[in-house]
Symmetry: C2
């Protein structure tokens, strides 16, 4: 088994934190996205879309997509549960994981991809859309602050994959000036709690 | 139990098809998104983000997000399996479901949201970004055609939630002139197969 990783990018970090919370160690190979190694044929044979991370199983199967890799480890090592405990809880964790991904993470990365020099010439950038994303991401942080008034973690009283996605989104948002505002006390309390877990260094 | 639905929108259709494949019937209430009923307080109490569909459980829990609702039914009625059968298969189905959603569905809806009159005044439209999405969606169809050369369905030899997401994306793409090209024979063969299942009418 091997995890193709990039220390620079936010999606691989989601899997590294997930593995750290599970106490799972996997051999890792760094892929240099700065040199676009992930856009060249040897890597595209592993994931035709070029994204990281990718997990290679011992039978030669490649699993791409961060949440799909997390799913594999949740199934093979259920404890501690990070994706829910029964039908209703699994659905609610998936709801919150998707909200954190589609409403927060995607707006953070959409800002970066459409406004940052790193992506200049790599993808067709639309700075005006980047600003729409930045504004949306900030609004979502304000909404999340309200949600966290009544509970410890994003999906309830238990730490889950939804917290991992939100943490990676917020940390990656800094480079695009998307930050927790001083008045967002609930969000800051949550951020301090999840950031101080040993897994956050993964 | 009740499903809040919209016959107009592509996300609710994903759940309707999923339920039809499972042979599950749920009471349905239509929500008029044309009149923005989903943006008004009574509905926002069910889903603060305003999205459809939403499933209300008998204990008063609201589950938003199409895939989270599908997860609930997959857990409570596992057969036929639409989200994978073991750890590896579940991960691969999730990988393909995410690829269909993030690479195809999101580009189709991104085109619509940024170029169609329906969203004028409802969200900040960036037509230039809509064109980036349209181009990306068409490229993803060409890629998917190549992928389907070697297998019957998106995630392998079994019909799964990944086929549902791809079908809903492609059908919704027509209004934005995103269509299967004449030379995309594998994709057309797959489309004919999944469209002729009774669930496609859901």
């Amino acid at each position: 088994m091997k995890l193709y990783d990039s220390a620079m990018a936010p999606n691989p970090r989601r899997v590294r934190i997930f593995l750290a919370e599970k106490g799972i160690t996997v051999p890792v190979e760094q892929v240099d996205i700065g040199k676009a190694v992930n856009r060249q044929p040897p890597f595209l044979a592993k994931n035709p879309l070029g994204g990281l991370p990718v997990l290679e199983l011992d039978d030669g199967t490649f699993i791409a997509e961060s949440v799909a890799i997390c799913r594999y480890f949740e199934e093979t090592q259920p404890k501690p549960p990070l994706m829910g405990t029964d039908a209703k809880d699994r659905a609610l964790v998936e709801m919150w994981q998707r909200r954190m991904e589609l409403e927060l993470f995607r707006n953070v990365t959409g800002t970066f991809q459409n406004t940052h020099a790193f992506f200049k010439g790599r993808i067709p950038q639309v700075p005006e859309y980047g600003e729409v994303c930045r504004d949306a991401a900030r609004k979502r942080l304000a909404w999340l602050d309200g949600e966290l008034a009544g509970r410890a973690f994003v999906a309830g009283e238990r730490y889950t994959i939804a917290d991992i996605t939100a943490l990676c989104a917020i940390d990656f948002g800094r480079v695009s000036d998307i930050r927790i505002a001083p008045e967002q006390k609930n969000l800051q309390r949550w951020y301090d709690a999840v950031s101080s877990r040993p897994s956050a260094k993964a």
